[in-house]
Structures are given as structure tokens and as C-alpha cells.
């Protein structure tokens, strides 16, 4: 009797599980799929669906690398409607392959930093801003007065074995940091990038000789500061602020001149049906609305929410973030530096990471 009842329970449970797991979310109308690497993306998609009845936006939440892999493998039969990640270089590459819808920038009150990051063809939209190459340091180990004032001073023996950074092949914001360094050190304006690359490579090689510590991503790099293996690191600004307000209050963020702008960017898939593209445009407009900005600023309070708004009238989510005007920020041309990513990363792997 007992055995029979238990067997019935098992069979019923298996059937229930199979039925539930086979069911997909209820879909009405066009289905916009957002491919996003932002910490607040789940909150944003949920809020958008809630405030826009009839929409059923779904989310593929992943790191930037796997998302771009999937987009490339999907090729001419894409499933993504929106790509939302940090850094414009991948968007420039997608635009050059004619994979992005153009002129998608909605009417919004962009500030100067926002405007500086809008491409001429309007193929992607900056919706937030962080800086890469921010000097994150532990004030318990090194005083602000002891910090380097310039990039040149950072590459001196005074800071030997004190500095860490991420591996550009693993950490999305690190290639823009390296490209920004090359852009600055080579005084790049236009034309050939050869001398700028050479200047950047020489600088990174010098840092390596001075004991630069490479870790895969922000986590272990800041972990190395926290474990007193190093005293400071050049990483994304939001990563530094996130740890300052959570686990390591003695962590601070400083900015050498210049750091590189790393916009949070949205692009729309050109190959999607027009109905889906229209839905995507509504989503972008909502993200830039006060409601959208609020969700972005509150969805991941110790992580990606720690950005500078790109809209006038909006303020940063936390007082720990200084006014954007006080940050010496440069914007690099993603259409120039984007296509060089693989070769520069390969050089880094061979000469800095394994060198």
C-alpha cells in the first residue's frame, strides 16, 4: 500500500516536472530578447514589462564574452534584439558588419559626456558612463599623497610590485583601458595607430618589468589589494566604488590624467523584424527615462549601478562617486581601436601575461 502510494507520487512528480519544464513563458506579440551583461538588467526588464502592458521582453543575462560569442555564432539568423554591455568597441565592430540598426538614439537631454559617445550614424546609444583605468588603492596601505600624479610616474621603481590590473582577454573593460593608454601615450589623433601601439606596448612592458600583477578580472585583482598582495590597481571605476561601500571601506578611487570613458551602451539588431525593432526602440527610450534611470541606479547598488548618468538632471546613485566634471576623461574612437582588439590582446597575452 505504502509502496504503491510512493510510486504514484514519484510518477506524478516526474510528470509534473516534465510539464512545467516544457512550458515557456507566456508570449504575446513580438518577442524582444535583451542580451545584457549589466547587473541591473533583470530589474530593468521586469520594470519595463510591468509598466508596459502587452510587452514581453525577455533577458539573456551573461558576461560580455559569452553574449558576443552567441551573437557571432547566430550569424544571419539572430535571436538577440538588443545588446546592452559596457564599452563601445564591440558595437563599432558590429556596426562595421552592418549588424546594427542605425539612427536609434531617442530624443533625450544628453550631457556633454553622453553626446561625446554617440556615433555619427546613431547605431548605438550610451545610457550610462564609467571610467576604465581608474586607480583603485587601499588607503590603509598607501596614502593619497604617496600616489603617482601621472601615468609616467606610475611606471617608476617607486611603485614596483605595488600595481595590478586585469587580463584583457578575460575582463571586458580592460581592452578599452589598454587602447586608451595607447591613444594617450601615442598622442593619437587620426591615421595610423602604429606609433601609438608601440608607445603603449613599451609602457606596459615597463610595468611588467616593475612587477605588474595580472589577474583575470576585477574580483581577483581587487582581492589582491584586499589581501595586501598589491597596494593599487587600474580597473573600472564602478568596481572600486563597489568594494569601497561594501567590504573594504579603506579602498579609494583616484584618477590619473586621462582615464578612458567606458559607456554602458545599447544597440539594436538590424536583422530583427520591424515590429521587434520598434519594441526595442521603446525599450531604449524607457531606459533613458527617469523611471529607467532609477531602476539602473538601484538594481545593483554595489556593482553596475555605480555609474555617472549621461543625462542632464540625473545624479549618480551614491555619494561616493565624485562629479563627472572632476574626472579627467578621454573618449577613444571605437571604430579605430575596436578592430585592433584581437591583435593587441594577443600581444598582451604573449608579452605581459606570459612574458
Amino acid at each position: 500500500m505504502l509502496r504503491g502510494a510512493a510510486a504514484t507520487c514519484v510518477v506524478a512528480s516526474l510528470g509534473l516536472v516534465a510539464t512545467n519544464v516544457g512550458a515557456s513563458p507566456k508570449a504575446t506579440g513580438p518577442t524582444l530578447v535583451v542580451y545584457s551583461a549589466q547587473g541591473y538588467d533583470k530589474a530593468a526588464v521586469a520594470a519595463f514589462n510591468k509598466t508596459n502592458p502587452g510587452f514581453n521582453v525577455t533577458l539573456n543575462d551573461n558576461s560580455t564574452g559569452p553574449l558576443l560569442q552567441q551573437i557571432q555564432a547566430e550569424g544571419h539568423n539572430p535571436k538577440w534584439g538588443i545588446l546592452w554591455v559596457d564599452g563601445a568597441t564591440a558595437f563599432a565592430a558590429l556596426d562595421q558588419q552592418h549588424m546594427l540598426a542605425t539612427h536609434i538614439v531617442p530624443k533625450a537631454n544628453f550631457n556633454a559626456v553622453g553626446k561625446a559617445n554617440i556615433p555619427a550614424d546613431g547605431s548605438y546609444v550610451p545610457v550610462s558612463m564609467t571610467a576604465t583605468g581608474a586607480l583603485v588603492y587601499d588607503s590603509a596601505q598607501i596614502k593619497p599623497s604617496q600616489l603617482p600624479k601621472t601615468w609616467a610616474q606610475l611606471a617608476t621603481s617607486k611603485y614596483a610590485h605595488d600595481l595590478g590590473m586585469n587580463d584583457p582577454t578575460q575582463s571586458g573593460p580592460t581592452y578599452p583601458l589598454i587602447a586608451g593608454l595607447m591613444n594617450y601615450l601615442g598622442h593619437y589623433k587620426s591615421g595610423s595607430t602604429a606609433s601609438a601601439i608601440k608607445a603603449g606596448e613599451a609602457y606596459l612592458a615597463k610595468l611588467k618589468r616593475l612587477g605588474l600583477v595580472i589577474n583575470a578580472t576585477n574580483g581577483p585583482t581587487i582581492g589582491a589589494i584586499q589581501a595586501h598582495t598589491i597596494k593599487m590597481a587600474i580597473v573600472q571605476s564602478s568596481a572600486g566604488y563597489g568594494q569601497e561601500i561594501s567590504s573594504l571601506p579603506s579602498l579609494r578611487v583616484a584618477y590619473l590624467t586621462p582615464v578612458t570613458a567606458l559607456p554602458g551602451v545599447i544597440g539594436i539588431d538590424r536583422l530583427m523584424p520591424q515590429a521587434v525593432q520598434n519594441e526595442a526602440r521603446k525599450f531604449v527610450a524607457w531606459v533613458l527615462s527617469p523611471a529607467g534611470q532609477h531602476v539602473m541606479k538601484t538594481g545593483d547598488p554595489q556593482g553596475d549601478s555605480l555609474f555617472w548618468p549621461v543625462l542632464n538632471g540625473e545624479s549618480a546613485s551614491n555619494k561616493v562617486i565624485p562629479p563627472i566634471a572632476s574626472v579627467p576623461m578621454q573618449t577613444i574612437n571605437p571604430y579605430v581601436w575596436g578592430p585592433l582588439e584581437t591583435s593587441i590582446n594577443n600581444w598582451f597575452t604573449a608579452n605581459v601575461n606570459n612574458g
Partner: protein, 600 residues
């Protein structure tokens, strides 16, 4: 001493596949309907997606990943620099790990089965648990334990030296060996089970010392040892968890990491990744060939109606203590250390951060319920992962059993060798290759528009997870299935039973526990799987491994570790529940004899 020469390989001493039951007349029909259906299923699950991926090695244009329809440039590009170094590292590490794993597994199996070592009922159970723990969890746990200001440090133990050693080739070999030991153990243990004491006695009577006895007896179980070597080698070649964590941090590139690296940049270089995948698959051919060559040269049949149960050696007290401690050490490295690290780490505030004291906290567990990232709790992802686990484990169990039966019913033929290479080659395929291969195949216009549009749906994710588990599961079941005497079923049929009833009343009782443990193996593997799930999960239906990864990747290590611990505890509860249900539901006779080919 020579082994008995017979025409029939033994079903028991032989490893999975080699040395199975004699072919039946039905098995001699090479292309039966069942075979065709089976290969069609394998094509849909594995051959077509992986085939699409590896085609990219020479024909990137076929999938719009380059301009060439045929090129060898990517082969040349792969076989140099750090990629070549990664491949060579993987080859020598996998070889060393395979030898170490088989040596340790053989020693353990002998101690547990043939001596009076303490805990003889506990060790095989722990071996099962070890089999279920993925390498990334092992590495994460050891990292939490040994890192500066980590869990051991919080307990007042200085682990600085160990940490340096662990994050290097030594740590890589240790973790991979402990992960490979269970695979080798269950094969070797099954082989030793059929080996009575008479061979040892005969050797001793002829004046052999301990070493000479070993030299005499071990070759008798050579098929099992070679099979264990092959599976350990293939599992190690395909491992990504260790390559990505320990390998990366110690600047020790391995093939799976090189593959990941090739596709982690944008644009991804799928062609180089495809060449590496081919190397991984091809690397399993030599072990299979060696196994095949050795087992064809002579018979290893030692089991007969006169086989006697082996006698246990009574170890002297000090030897008994030493042997028990040695076994305990193996399990401490594989299970105890990582578990201790993870559990302690999840209760220490700011693990890994320089501080003057240790502060315990339950905050990370609170954050699992009330996450710092909005709408990213573990609840519904874990429920979904469990649902996936149930469906995938059940489907894999059914398919694996039928495939195992096919495999062992065609002993010695080309079909069996091809199937064996195919299965072991599939074991060596990393999850990321399968995941991306699924995109290339199932998102083809021909398939998605004209046949069935499955990409980014739960059914496709399930198919991929079944494909990921099926090769290992089949090889796992092939040994026990090979031991089933066809005469049992024939007798039942003669007495009027239908085919289903004959199977249910004769075979099922004999393999019931194997099926149960196989189910649990796939269930836990499915919950812990990340690479495939990350690529193929349907939008807005995020499984647990993706949620945990988003916290670990966001440097919320405390919350990520607490989530890992909760997931592990939940998996153990399911194992306990499944075993309890088996006990409650299975007839007493099943429980007594359902251990065929597997002990616990």
C-alpha cells in the same frame, strides 16, 4: 602463470565495452532498425552539432565565420605558441593524471575489497559522492580554504606555502587526479570483484613474493585497468574547471583554456577552437587502440561457476591504521578540504581580506534570500535546475541503457570500436564546444525555418544536457550491462513473458542500483553544468549555475559561495531522498542483488 584461453571474453573482469557478453545471433545483424534509430538519435544529439563545430577548422565560410571554403591556416595557427603549449600541457598532465588515478583507484579497490581496512562500507559511498562533485567546486573550496586570509587562516593555520603550491601544476594534478579517481575506481573495482584469491594463492605456492604476486595478478585485470586509464585520460583532457582556475592563475595553459581563449575575444576565432576540439577528440584514439590491441591478443576470462569469493587479508594493526588513514587522506583532498573551505568560507565575513580578526556571519545566507542584486535570488533558478536535472537524468538513463546494450552486443567488431572511440571522443569534448555547436546546427536556416525552431528553448537545452551526459553514462553502464546473461531474458521469454516483462523481471532487478546511481550522477552533473547552460539557456529562464556565476563574477564571493553551499546541500538531500525512495519502493530482492557491476 597464464590465463585460461577461451573464445569468449569475460563479462565481469572486462571493463565496460571490452570483454562483454558473447554476441547473440540478433547482435550479428549489423544494421537493425534499432541501430539506425540509435545512430539517428546520436546524430541529432552529438554528431551533427559537434560536426558543424569541427567543420569550422577548415571551412569557416560554411558558417559565415570567414572567407575561406577550405583552408589549413587555422591548423598552423593552432599548432604554435601558447596554444600548442596548452595542448602539450594537457596531453602530459592527462597522461600523468590517468596513471596516478588508476594506481590510486586500484590500491583503494584492493584495500576495500581484499583487506580488513576500517570503513569498508563508507569509502565506496564517499567515492560516489566524490564522483558527483565537479572540479570547479573542488577548486573553489580549496581556494577558499588556502587563500591568504581565507578559511584556514581564520582558523589560525598558516597556509601560505600550500597556497603557492596549490596554484600551480602540482595543484592541477592533485585536483584532476582526485576527480578522475572515482571513474577509475568503479571500473577497476568491478574487475577485481570477479577475481578470486586462487590466482594469488597459485603465485604464492610457486614462491612469488608480494611484487611478483602483483605482477601476476594485475595483468589479469588489464582490460579494466586500460579502460580506467582511457576514461581518466579523456575526462582530464576535457576538464575546463581546473584549466580556467588553477591553470590560468599559475600561467600554465591547458588545451581547454586555449579553446576558451580563442573564442573569448570579439570576434571569436571559432576555427582555432575547432582545431583544438579535433585534437581533444583525436587524443582519445591511442588509449582506445591500446586497450583494443591488448584485449584482442588474449582472453581475460576468469569468471566461471567455480569462481570463489576472494578472501580478505587481515592487515596488522599498524598497517590497518596506515591504510585507513591513507584512504582518508584521498577523500580529504577530494571532498573534505573543499567542503571545509566552502562551508567555513561562507560563514567568515570578508573572506580573503586582510584584517586583524575573524568575524563570523550569516549575512551571505541572508543575501541568498534577499539578494543585493535586484531580482537575482537563488530560489526559482534552483527549482528550474532541479526540474532540468530530473528530465535530463531520466532521458539520459533510458538512452544510456539502450546504447550500452548495443555497445556490448557487438563485441570485437568495427562497429563496437567505432562506437567506443565515438563515446570516449565525446567525453573529451568540452561543454563549450557542444554549446556553440548547438547554435551552429540548430540555428541553421534549414533547421530553424524549415524543420523545427528549437534554439533558445528549454527542449534544446535539455537535448544538449543529455548529449553532454550520455557518453559518460553509457560507458558507465556498459560494464554492468555486459554482465547480464542473455539466457535470463531468454528463459523468461520461453515461459511466456513479453519482452518488457522479461526485461523488468530479469535485467532490471540486476541493474537497478546502477540505474539509480547513474540517474543521480546525471542529475547532479546537470545542476552543476555551466558552460552549456550559459550558452543555451532560454531568455528569462536562468538556471542556478548561471545565477551563482553572476555573483562570483561580480565579486560577491560570500554570496556566491553561500549559494554554492546551498546548491551542494540540496543535491545531497536529493541523493538521500532518491536512496530512501529506492529503499521504500524497490522489492527486497532488488536491493540484495541490484549491485551488479557496482558496489557501494
Amino acid at each position: 602463470m597464464t590465463t585460461e584461453l577461451t573464445a569468449t571474453p569475460s563479462p565481469v573482469t572486462a571493463p565496460p565495452v571490452v570483454g562483454a557478453a558473447p554476441p547473440t545471433p540478433r547482435a550479428r545483424r549489423r544494421w537493425s532498425g534499432g541501430t539506425i534509430v540509435l545512430w539517428l538519435i546520436l546524430t541529432v544529439l552529438i554528431i551533427a552539432p559537434v560536426g558543424c563545430f569541427i567543420l569550422l577548422a577548415t571551412s569557416p565560410r560554411l558558417f559565415n565565420q570567414g572567407s575561406q571554403y577550405f583552408t589549413l591556416a587555422y591548423i598552423e595557427q593552432t599548432l604554435r605558441g601558447s596554444t600548442l603549449r596548452g595542448i602539450l600541457n594537457s596531453l602530459w598532465v592527462s597522461s600523468v593524471v590517468a596513471v596516478l588515478a588508476v594506481s590510486i583507484a586500484t590500491t583503494l579497490a584492493w584495500l576495500v575489497q581484499r583487506t580488513n581496512v576500517w570503513g569498508r562500507r563508507v569509502w565506496p559511498f564517499l567515492m560516489w559522492v566524490l564522483l558527483l562533485v565537479p572540479t570547479w567546486m573542488m577548486t573553489l573550496g580549496w581556494g577558499d580554504l588556502l587563500q591568504p586570509y581565507g578559511a584556514a587562516s581564520a582558523a589560525g593555520i598558516n597556509t601560505h606555502f600550500l597556497y603557492g603550491e596549490f596554484f600551480g601544476p602540482t595543484g592541477i594534478i592533485i585536483v584532476l587526479t582526485t576527480a578522475a579517481v572515482p571513474f577509475a575506481y568503479f571500473i577497476v573495482a568491478a574487475g577485481l570483484q570477479g577475481l578470486g584469491s586462487e590466482f594469488e594463492d597459485a603465485a604464492r605456492i610457486h614462491g612469488a613474493g608480494r611484487l611478483a604476486v602483483l605482477r601476476t595478478v594485475l595483468p589479469i585485470v588489464a582490460p579494466a585497468l586500460l579502460s580506467a586509464l582511457a576514461i581518466s585520460f579523456a575526462e582530464t583532457m576535457s576538464d575546463f574547471g581546473v584549466a580556467f582556475t588553477l591553470g590560468y592563475h599559475s600561467n600554465f595553459p591547458m588545451a581547454t583554456y586555449a579553446l576558451f581563449n580563442a573564442i573569448s575575444n570579439y570576434p571569436a576565432n571559432f576555427s582555432v577552437a575547432a582545431v583544438i576540439a579535433i585534437v581533444l577528440i583525436a587524443s582519445t584514439i591511442p588509449p582506445i587502440m591500446l586497450q583494443s590491441r591488448v584485449t584482442r591478443r588474449r582472453s581475460y576470462a576468469v569468471l566461471s561457476g567455480r569462481t570463489r569469493i576472494a578472501r580478505r587479508h587481515e592487515l596488522r594493526p599498524w598497517a590497518r591504521v596506515g591504510a585507513t588513514m591513507g584512504i582518508g587522506l584521498v577523500f580529504f583532498v577530494g571532498l573534505g578540504g573543499p567542503l571545509l573551505g566552502s562551508v567555513l568560507g561562507s560563514f567568515v565575513k570578508n573572506l580573503g581580506i586582510y584584517s586583524s580578526g575573524v568575524h563570523l556571519t550569516t549575512a551571505y545566507y541572508t543575501q541568498v534570500l534577499h539578494p543585493s542584486i535586484a531580482d537575482k535570488s537563488l530560489g526559482s533558478p534552483l527549482v528550474l535546475s532541479n526540474q532540468l536535472g530530473v528530465v535530463v537524468a531520466t532521458a539520459t538513463g533510458v538512452l544510456g541503457f539502450f546504447l550500452a546494450r548495443r555497445l556490448v552486443s557487438n563485441v570485437g567488431g568495427w562497429g563496437q570500436r567505432v562506437t567506443d572511440v565515438f563515446l570516449l571522443g565525446s567525453v573529451a569534448v568540452p561543454g563549450v564546444v557542444l554549446g556553440v555547436g548547438y547554435i551552429f546546427f540548430y540555428n541553421l536556416g534549414l533547421i530553424a525555418h524549415d524543420l523545427i525552431n528549437l534554439y533558445k528553448t528549454l527542449p534544446l537545452l535539455m537535448l544538449a544536457l543529455v548529449a553532454n551526459s550520455l557518453p559518460g553514462q553509457t560507458r558507465f553502464m556498459a560494464g554492468p550491462v555486459a554482465q547480464l546473461q542473455p539466457s535470463l531474458g531468454d528463459a523468461a521469454r520461453v515461459h511466456g513473458a513479453t519482452r518488457w516483462r522479461a526485461w523488468r523481471t530479469t535485467s532490471l532487478p540486476l541493474v537497478s542500483r546502477v540505474l539509480l546511481w547513474g540517474w543521480l550522477l546525471t542529475f547532479t552533473k546537470t545542476i552543476a553544468e555551466l558552460a552549456i547552460v550559459q550558452i543555451l539557456y532560454p531568455p528569462s529562464q536562468e538556471p542556478a549555475s548561471v545565477s551563482i556565476q553572476s555573483y562570483l563574477g561580480n565579486y560577491e564571493l560570500g554570496t556566491g559561495t553561500a549559494m554554492t553551499v546551498i546548491t551542494m546541500v540540496e543535491m545531497l538531500l536529493v541523493i538521500g531522498l532518491a536512496l530512501a525512495l529506492y529503499r521504500a519502493l524497490a522489492p527486497r530482492g532488488w536491493r540484495r542483488i541490484g549491485w551488479t557491476g557496482v558496489e557501494s
